[in-house]
């Protein structure tokens, strides 16, 4: 009965998923070109791109603005319906979320492809893109707000029908993710709507680049948790089922997500440690708070490993690590997520360095940073999303996954590739190799960067092959797979139910949001007030590419 009601929504979910995967397909090709460029192989020219930087703009925007946002919108809409056992509250909103995403991608994509907006995914002014580039990004964000609204309305409708009951876990987590994202996105939304669009249209002549950076990074740190948390939803509530285990604790999972809600936003200045316009005191406060957001990730690490270990031992695994071998490594969805977790662990360690107050001064804006985040978002998040796609695409299309073996291989290729790639980028960064740089044309290359660049190219090629294997499986499933299957969302059984904990962890979301608002006021308020007493609207737009 449900399946019937879900179908109209699912159609948009599937199309939005296609947008996400198409975006990352092109994005990954750009990444491959960037990697090869480090060995003086210039495919950008061969394929008619205007420059390395045009490709890099596409790479950043498509991979981390479009792919992530579109995927999360599709995935969590799907999850919310299954978790609550009811269709989304509004069919119109489900349709609107897709239409906005589509429009946004078309506009921003067009303006990147015509080289009028080669400003990279951070679009720092006074580099000035075409107004439609900014409008396109606004549509992408608006689409995510529509998803938020729809999920919130659906949860509320469920609550009305189930007075006094606790909202089911997966829907609750989805709502927390979007709540956090909505609040976090207000920074970049105000940057683009208030500062950049009027300025790019010529209505105001000058803008304030420092203020724009601060607004951007208000969102820019939290956004990585917006990408990560949907993967955590899968690791906590789905992966245990896929490996034959259980989720340890419902309330602890909720608490972890609520901690992310609190701590993801008020730490944005740690991306601005070396900005001239931010007083040292604020940098110190955010630096110290940054460690708070490691805490929920460490609990996650424990909970997920514990649940995996239970599965491995139940399948006859012995010894300290023997259980790992007994996990169902032949399942491409499981393998992708396990390897995502491994990559993410190393990413987390390099992140500690990155975030630490004084070491940041050595690595800021060097290739250390891409080395780090290809492990976190590029592997922890990306491989998890691929892992989810391995069951979600069959679930939505009814087609059996084509060549699952190749799916398993794809994740291994990626992990091996990214290990080499990131090792190279991190080593180069420690030797002062700058990021975002067309290395083949650079006039100051140091000898110490030669081997790091080679590792980047070799690792990047393996990553590319891994990603292409994924897309082969995907296209094979869509066009060659004849067998019909019914796949449903994996939902793990829970050992400790929500009723075991105080309702503060399961219900009183409003209270948590109130605390978050107070935290933001403390960590940003005084700085913002003093900044506005003396802003620097001094920069005209420039097009220098």
């Amino acid at each position: 009965m449900h399946a019937q009601q879900f179908r109209p929504h699912d159609r948009f979910v599937l199309w939005q998923l296609y947008i996400a995967l198409a975006a990352v397909f092109l994005g990954v090709i750009m990444g491959f070109f960037q990697a090869l460029e480090r060995m003086n192989i210039d495919l950008f020219k061969v394929f008619g791109f205007a420059s390395y930087y045009q490709g890099l703009t596409l790479h950043g925007v498509l991979n981390v603005l479009v792919f992530t946002t579109a995927f999360i919108g599709a995935f969590l809409t799907y999850v919310t319906m299954r978790s609550l056992g009811r269709p989304m509250a509004s069919y119109r909103l489900t349709a609107l979320q897709f239409v906005l995403m589509m429009l946004g991608v078309v506009l921003a994509g067009w303006k990147m492809l015509d080289n009028s907006s080669t400003v990279l995914f951070t679009f720092y002014p006074p580099l000035q893109a075409h107004p439609l580039f900014y409008v396109g990004l606004v549509f992408v964000v608006l689409s995510s707000w529509v998803t938020f609204l729809n999920i919130a309305l659906t949860v509320r409708a469920w609550q009305r029908d189930h007075p006094g009951e606790t909202v089911p876990l997966q829907a609750f987590l989805s709502l927390v993710v979007y709540l956090m994202w909505f609040i976090a996105s207000l920074g970049v939304a105000s940057e683009v709507l208030v500062l950049l669009i009027p300025w790019s249209l010529g209505w105001v002549e000058r803008t304030d680049p420092q203020l724009a950076r601060t607004l951007f990074w208000f969102t820019g740190h939290a956004i990585v948790y917006f990408w990560l948390l949907p993967a955590y939803i899968s690791w906590y509530t789905m992966l245990p089922k896929q490996v034959g285990s259980k989720l340890l604790s419902d309330p602890l999972t909720r608490l972890v997500f609520l901690m992310f809600l609190l701590f993801s936003v008020p730490v944005g200045f740690h991306h601005q440690f070396v900005d001239p316009g931010v007083p040292v005191m604020w940098k110190t406060i955010h630096a110290a708070l940054t460690y708070a957001v490691f805490f929920p990730s460490m609990i996650t690490f424990f909970s997920v490993i514990a649940s995996l270990e239970m599965a491995g031992r139940a399948r006859g695994g012995q010894g300290l690590f023997g259980w790992i071998l007994k996990l169902p490594w032949n399942d491409p969805s499981v393998t992708a997520q396990l390897l995502a977790g491994i990559g993410f662990m190393f990413g987390g360690i390099s992140g500690l360095i990155n975030a630490s107050y004084n070491l940041n001064q050595v690595v800021h804006n060097t290739s250390f940073v891409p080395g780090h985040f290809h492990l976190t978002v590029g592997t922890g998040v990306f491989l998890s999303y691929l892992g989810i796609s391995y069951w979600l695409i069959p679930a939505l299309t009814g087609r059996k996954l084509w060549q699952p073996r190749l799916g398993v291989v794809s994740s291994w290729l990626w992990l091996i590739g990214v290990s080499i790639f990131s090792r190279g980028q991190i080593a180069g960064g420690l030797e002062g190799m700058p990021r975002r740089t067309w290395m083949a044309a650079a006039t100051y290359v140091l000898d110490a960067w030669r081997i790091p660049n080679m590792m980047t190219a070799v690792g990047g090629t393996l990553m590319f092959l891994g990603a292409m294997s994924f897309f082969t499986v995907l296209l094979g499933t869509l066009f060659l797979s004849r067998e019909r299957v019914t796949v449903t969302m994996p939902v793990a059984d829970i050992i400790t139910p929500p009723e075991a904990a105080s309702p503060i962890f399961t219900r009183q979301l409003g209270l948590w949001v109130a605390v978050l608002v107070v935290l933001i006021m403390i960590t940003y308020g005084p700085y913002m007030i003093s900044y506005f007493s003396n802003p620097a609207f001094v920069a005209r737009g420039l097009r220098v590419w």
Binding site: D275, T284, M298, L352, Y357, Y444, V544, W545
Partner: protein, 168 residues
């Protein structure tokens, strides 16, 4: 909330670890002499030619072994593009951008700061080894970004040069 025993232990260890990091940050910030770049003031990027000190970019000695370098970053060069200081100098760079965002990185030192139009960046570093250093722009600043750098020649002092000459 009921929490499994091992998990409880793990949570306490995590908390302890984070506490240690937390304290380390504060110690580094207040006692360790670690200094992140502080705001160096505001400036109108279109008026640099008549705004001291940016009307006269260059190197000035400000004390014994102490130098100040006033620099302008613009697409795609640093002005001045070459600096000479004696070995053992402590150099304070005062830099601003005339146009877009730029970066300022001297590999193998702690000098790493963003250059934002309208803001003056300040960074101080010490050069203990003679040789050629590079200032590299590490923020995307347009199509010529990969060509934007400057050179610092850290010269051996007169007595060192003599000593070396005698060795040879």
């Amino acid at each position: 909330m009921p929490i499994e025993r091992f998990e409880k232990v793990f949570i306490w260890i995590s908390l302890l670890l984070l506490e240690v990091f937390f304290v380390a940050v504060l110690v580094a910030a207040f006692f360790g002499g670690i200094q992140l770049p502080a705001p160096g003031g505001l400036v109108d990027p279109e008026q640099l030619a008549n705004t001291p000190p940016f009307d006269q970019p260059g190197v000035r000695q400000v004390g014994d072994g102490q130098y100040e370098v006033v620099m302008i970053a613009q697409t795609w060069q640093f002005i001045p593009g070459e600096i000479r200081v004696p070995v053992g100098s402590t150099v304070t760079f005062r830099i601003t951008s005339r146009d877009v965002l730029h970066g300022f990185l001297i590999p193998n030192t702690n000098a790493n700061v963003m250059l934002v139009p309208g803001q003056v960046s300040e960074v101080t570093t010490r050069f203990d080894k003679p040789g050629e250093y590079r200032i590299i722009c590490h923020e995307y600043c347009g199509i010529g970004h990969q060509t934007m750098f400057a050179r610092i020649f850290v010269e051996p002092t007169a007595s060192e040069t003599q000593a070396r000459a005698q060795e040879e």
